[in-house]
Amino acid sequence: MTSTAYPAQPPNAVPLGRRLKRWFLARPGVARLGVIVLLFIAWEIAARFFVDKIFLSPPSIVFTSLHTVFETNGVPNALRISASEIVAAFAMSVVIGLVVGLAVGLHRFTHKSFMPIILLLYGTPQITILPLFILYFGIGPASKIAFGVSHGIFPIIVTVVAGVQNIKPILLTSAKSMGASRWHIFRWVIFPHMIPSFFAGMRLGMTGVLLGVLLAELYVSTAGIGYFTTLFTQSFNPTKLLGLISVLAAMAILLNEIVRRAEIHYSRWRSD
């Protein structure tokens, strides 16, 4: 960060100030790191001197006592439950979304009939029916998975339909004129063409699944992370609360990043 990180400058005519400026301008990542460090310092100062201890802990204490979060009875299990809920909901969203998306997208008639209904459902705020999910699926993991699916499935359907629909007609015509069967056209023209938008849909679906599962967890939970966030909030334990939130945020970033990498990987062929 400071100039000590800067290697010994060769005896050039260019003054040090300008060279330093140029060095920083070429590396915006350094300044970005600086901003992050400043934010953490501000948080540290605010928590140590200005805010009551029962509301906010300084980041140094939060991160050094991260292990106490894991040592809390039941937290590792809760994280495992939540992670498996997310994975199950994501897998179900992908499978159902792909099947429904293909069924709706492959025919003009079904597309025109059912797409408006799907878009209407996609635009509906599902959060209002969260109590219904609890009523039907109980307060266990089933309701979290179902609610995660209800959030993750629509972006996948919509992008699969878009991927199937946006094929250039000339590709279909040429495949047909070369004697491809319906299955061949699907396997070798539609399917590869659909892959990039399918992965884009999976990324959006993952965002939705995370939102849905976390919403349902926070709403009611007996053993998942929602139980512990409520517990730490009500016992005014910001150290553990912030630690748990950081762990969950890291988990969310990791899952998002996996899907994003997959998307980049599988849509490479399109760029050239």
Binding site: L25, P28, A31, R32, V35, I36, F55, L56, R108, F109, K112, S113, F114, M115, P116, I117, L119, L120, Y122, G123, T124, P125, I127, T128, I129, L130, P131, L132, I134, L135, Y136, V158, A162, T207, L210, L211, L214, L215, L218, Y219, T229, T230, F232, T233, F236, P238, L241, L242, I245, L248, A249, A252, I253, N256
Partner: protein, 271 residues
């Protein structure tokens, strides 16, 4: 949501090229939609009237309708709706004002765009709902924690779109305006703003939608009043018919607000 204008476009295009065959298929798909809704409601009615479904799990549609009429006629919804909409208005004004201002300031130099944009996009990829327990700890169960969550969720799409709008104006336009002697103000008013405006509008629309969702969500999870709170309150009282009525009401409000913002965006964009 994003495909909505697209479908509107294709609909008008279909209307213009009204060949008889296409007309019939449009009519057919409309019939399928109507049949789908009727079948769903019919199944619901028959199942709850003649089947063995508990009215706590799924109330009769006629009862739900009666309750909805009652809710609307007695104006019982006004208090909750006013609280939710007030929270939404405050949250959206804060995030719109701060997001556009900060976004404009960041977009002033390519360097600060490269410093801040990945940072903001990175924070945006964290599910913001995770902050809710923290906000409840800070601000309590009242409207303040809902407003804080609404501001946090809608701030990021607004600032990111503002940066994208102002920051990636084609350099040719800026250069030619400058070489024709445009002042800073003229450059902003006649080049940067018109170029950025549609993208900022999109950010505002997304921000509005997610602010509404997160406010409804936080009311559902932990609150003292508001539409989301009312739904949970009825669910916990096992008053399912009235809860269905409130759900229908809340969904109608949300869809109306989203339609209004989308059409406002489309209208402002056309100018």
């Amino acid at each position: 949501m994003s495909a909505e204008p697209e479908s509107a476009v294709s609909k008008s295009a279909a209307l213009k090229s009204a060949t008889p065959k296409r007309d019939r298929s449009a009519l057919g798909s409309r019939a399928v939609q109507v049949a789908f809704v009727i079948a769903l409601v019919g199944l619901w009615y028959v199942g709850t009237t003649y089947g063995q479904i508990s009215p706590i799990l799924l109330p009769n549609p006629l009862r739900v309708f009666d309750e909805l009429v009652d809710v609307l006629a007695t104006l019982e919804f006004v208090t909750d709706l006013r609280i939710t909409l007030t929270e939404l208005a405050i949250a959206f004004s804060i995030s719109a004002a701060s997001g556009i201002t900060l976004g404009y300031l960041i977009s002033r130099s390519q360097y600060s765009i490269r410093v801040f944009e990945p940072l903001l996009a990175g924070i945006y990829s964290v599910p913001i709902i995770l902050f809710l327990p923290l906000y409840i700890l800070f601000f309590g169960l009242g409207p303040a924690s809902k407003i804080a969550l609404g501001v946090t969720t809608s701030f990021f799409p607004i600032i990111l779109n503002t940066i994208a709008g102002f920051g990636y104006v084609d350099r040719i336009f800026v250069l030619s305006a400058r070489s024709m002697g445009a002042s800073d103000y003229q450059l902003f008013r006649w080049v940067l703003l018109p170029a950025a405006f549609p993208i900022i509008l999109t950010g505002l629309r997304i921000g509005f939608t997610v602010a509404l969702l997160s406010i409804l969500g936080s009311e559902t999870i932990a609150s003292l009043a508001g539409l989301g709170h009312r739904i949970v309150h009825l669910a916990e009282g096992m008053d399912t018919a009235r809860m269905f009525a409130y759900i229908a009401f809340a969904v109608a409000i949300a869809l109306t607000l989203n339609t209004v913002t989308s059409s406002l965006e489309a209208r402002a964009r056309r100018r």
